[in-house]
C-alpha cells in the first residue's frame, strides 16, 4: 500500500523551477531515499508533503490524505525533521523533548521505548541547552523530538548534511532500527554512498526525477561496463585520459578513475594500456568494476 503518493507535482519560485512534474510512491514500511545535490528540489518536495507549502500543480497524498484538504490530519500523524536545526536553542535537551510531547498532547514516557536507543546517547547531556550541543547530538535530539508522538511516517530532510562519517553511520543505523518498528521513512541526502542503505531511491536533479528503483536495480541498469584505472601518477593520468581515444566517460573516483569505452573489447583495453605506457605511466592497473550509485547518477545527469 502506498503511504506517500506524489502525482505530477510542480513548483516554481520566481525564476527557478524547483520541482518539475515529479511523481513517485512510497510503500508502507519502506526506507525511501531522495538522492540529489543542493538545489535539486528535495526541500521543496518535503515542504509540500509536510503540508508547509502548496504545489503549483499536481496531487500528493500522505496516509491517504490529501496534502491540501486534509492537512490537519496529516500534521497529526507525521514526524518532520527540517534541514536546518529547528529546536529551541534556549531550552535544554529535556525541555525540548517535553515541549514537543506536549504539542502532541502526550507524555514523554508513553513512547519512550521508541526513542530510547537514540535518547541514551544524549541523556548524559539532558540539562544542557540545545544550542550548545555538537552537530551529531543536535541531530539525535531533533530525531527524538520528531519521533516522540510515534508518527506513522517520518520525513527527514538532509539529516546528515555536514556531519562526519562516524555520526552519519550511527544515524543510518538508527534509521534501520526505526524501520523495523514499522515506521515509513522518507529521507533526503546529497551523499550518494548513503543511497545503498535505502530500500528504494529516487535520484533527483534540478527538480526532475532521473530514476526510481532499488539501489541494486539502478546499478544493474547501468548501460556500459565500467572499469577502474589507476597508475602511479594519478594527477597526470587525469590529463592524459582527456586525450585518450575511444573513451565514453572518465571520472575520478577515489583512488581509481572510473571509465567506460565507446567500443568495449579486449583490443580497446590493450590500446589504452599501450597509450598510457607511451605517456610514461607506470604500474597501470585496469580492471572491470561494479558501478556505484554515483556513477549512475553522473550517467543520468549527462543525458
Amino acid at each position: 500500500m502506498a503511504i506517500i503518493s506524489v502525482e505530477n507535482i510542480s513548483k516554481k519560485y520566481t525564476d527557478i523551477q524547483a520541482l518539475d512534474n515529479v511523481s513517485f510512491q512510497v510503500n508502507e514500511g519502506e526506507l525511501y531515499g531522495m538522492i540529489g545535490a543542493d538545489g535539486a528540489g528535495k526541500t521543496s518536495l518535503f515542504r509540500i508533503l509536510t503540508t508547509l507549502m502548496l504545489a503549483d500543480k499536481g496531487k500528493a497524498k500522505v496516509n491517504g490524505w490529501d496534502v491540501v484538504k486534509d492537512y490537519k490530519k496529516i500534521r497529526n500523524s507525521i514526524g518532520y525533521m527540517p534541514g536546518r536545526f529547528s529546536l529551541y536553542q534556549d531550552l535544554t535537551v529535556e525541555e525540548n523533548l517535553h515541549f514537543f510531547a506536549t504539542l502532541f498532547n502526550i507524555s514523554v514516557k508513553k513512547n519512550y521505548d521508541l526513542i530510547q536507543d537514540i535518547y541514551i546517547h544524549i541523556e548524559p547531556f539532558k540539562t544542557r541547552l540545545a544550542g550548545k550541543l555538537s552537530g551529531g547530538m543536535k541531530q539525535k535530539l531533533a530525531l527524538c523530538c520528531a519521533l516522540i508522538h510515534r508518527p506513522s511516517v517520518l520525513f527527514l530532510d538532509e539529516p546528515t548534511t555536514g556531519v562526519d562519517v562516524v555520526s552519519r553511520k550511527e544515524f543510518w543505523e538508527m534509521l534501520c532500527k526505526l524501520k523495523k518498528q514499522g515506521i515509513t521513512i522518507l529521507v533526503s541526502t546529497p551523499y550518494m554512498d548513503e543511497a545503498t542503505l535505502c530500500d528504494r531511491i529516487t535520484l533527483i536533479q534540478s527538480g526532475k526525477i532521473l530514476s526510481i528503483d532499488t539501489p541494486q536495480g539502478i546499478i544493474k541498469h547501468y548501460p556500459d561496463s565500467m572499469y577502474g584505472l589507476k597508475s602511479s601518477n594519478m594527477n597526470m593520468l587525469i590529463y592524459d585520459m582527456q586525450k585518450a581515444e575511444n573513451i565514453k566517460s572518465c571520472f575520478a573516483f577515489g583512488e581509481y578513475l572510473h571509465l567506460s569505452f565507446q567500443n568495449d573489447n579486449e583490443a580497446a583495453r590493450d590500446e589504452l594500456r599501450n597509450y598510457l605506457t607511451e605517456q610514461g605511466h607506470q604500474n597501470i592497473e585496469l580492471k572491470q568494476i561494479m558501478p556505484n550509485i554515483e556513477d549512475c547518477f553522473i550517467k543520468l545527469m549527462e543525458k
Binding site: D15, G36, A37, D38, G39, A40, K132, L133, S134, G135, G136, M137, T161, G162, V163, D164, V165, V166, S167, K169, P190, Y191, M192, D193, Q205, M234, N235, I238, F251, A252, F253, G254, E255, E294, F297, I298, M301, E302
Partner: protein, 247 residues
C-alpha cells in the same frame, strides 16, 4: 623536494581547560594537496584558524609561507587564500563585482584585474553570467567561482573548508579539476572534506581525533597501515576511538 610552506611544531590551542588542538606537528610542501580530515569537533576548524593567522596559538610554533603565526599574521594573510562552504562570496553583488572586490582587497592593479577577470570568466564558462547576482547562480558554480576568486592573487597556499558540501557529483569533479590545476601552478592546497572519495585525491591525508593528529600519510600507505579497503574504513577505525563528543 619542494619548498616547505606550512610547518607546525607542537601547535596547541586551549580554551580554559579544554584543549581543542593538542600538540600537532606536520609539514606541507609546495604544490601539495593536503587533506585535513577529522570528525565534527576534532579540532579541525580551530587548527585551520591558527594556520590562517586568525587565532593565536596557546603554545607551539607554526611558519606559514615563511611567516610566523604569532607576529606576522598580516604577511600570512597576504600570502594565503581562503574559501569555505558557508561564506565565500557576496551574494548581493554580481560575478564581476565579486571578482573586482576580492582582487582589489588583495591589491591587484587595474591592468592585472582586467586580464585576470576575462581569463577567469572564460575558464569557468561564465560569459553569460558576468552581470548576474551571485545569489542567482547554482551552488556548484558559486563554489567554483569562489575557489577561483580565492586564488586570484596567486597565493602560496589556499585553505578550503568543506568546499564541495552538497555539490552534485559532476560539479564536484569539475571542482577537483580546478584544484589539480591550481596545484600544478605551484599553489599548495589545504582542504577539509566529509567525502571520503575526495580524501583519495589528496597527495597526503591527516586524520585528527580529539585534537591530535592520529595518522598522516599518503592514502595508499594509510590503507596498508590499517589494512583497510578504503579511506572510509581508515577514517571510521580512527574516529571511533574518539572520546569527546562536543564541538
Amino acid at each position: 623536494m619542494n619548498e616547505v610552506v606550512i610547518k607546525t611544531d607542537k601547535l596547541t590551542k586551549r580554551f580554559g581547560d579544554f584543549t581543542a588542538v593538542d600538540n600537532i606537528t606536520f609539514d606541507v610542501s609546495q604544490s601539495e594537496i593536503f587533506g585535513f580530515l577529522g570528525a565534527n569537533g576534532a579540532g579541525k576548524t580551530t587548527a585551520m584558524r591558527m594556520l590562517c593567522g586568525l587565532s593565536t596559538p596557546t603554545s607551539g610554533d607554526a611558519i606559514i609561507a615563511g611567516f610566523d603565526v604569532y607576529n606576522q599574521t598580516e604577511n600570512i594573510k597576504k600570502n594565503i587564500g581562503y574559501m569555505s562552504q558557508k561564506f565565500s562570496l557576496y551574494e548581493d553583488l554580481t560575478v564581476i563585482e565579486n571578482i573586482h572586490l576580492f582582487g582589489g582587497i588583495y591589491g591587484l592593479d587595474n591592468y592585472q584585474l582586467k586580464n585576470k577577470t576575462d581569463e577567469l570568466i572564460e575558464k569557468l564558462g561564465l560569459q553569460g553570467e558576468r552581470n548576474k547576482l551571485v545569489a542567482s547562480l547554482p551552488l556548484g558554480w558559486k563554489q567554483k567561482l569562489a575557489f577561483s576568486v580565492a586564488i586570484l592573487h596567486q597565493p602560496k597556499i589556499v585553505f578550503l573548508d568543506e568546499p564541495t558540501g552538497g555539490v552534485d557529483p559532476i560539479t564536484r569533479r569539475q571542482f577537483w579539476k580546478l584544484i589539480y590545476d591550481a596545484a600544478n601552478q605551484g599553489i599548495t592546497i589545504f582542504v577539509t572534506t566529509h567525502y571520503m572519495d575526495e580524501a583519495e585525491y589528496c597527495n597526503r591525508v591527516s586524520i585528527m581525533v580529539d585534537g591530535k593528529i592520529e595518522a598522516l600519510d599518503t592514502p595508499v600507505k594509510l590503507k596498508q597501515m590499517f589494512s583497510a579497503k578504503s579511506m572510509d574504513d581508515v577514517f571510521l577505525r580512527l574516529a571511533r576511538k574518539a572520546q569527546r563528543t562536543s564541538d
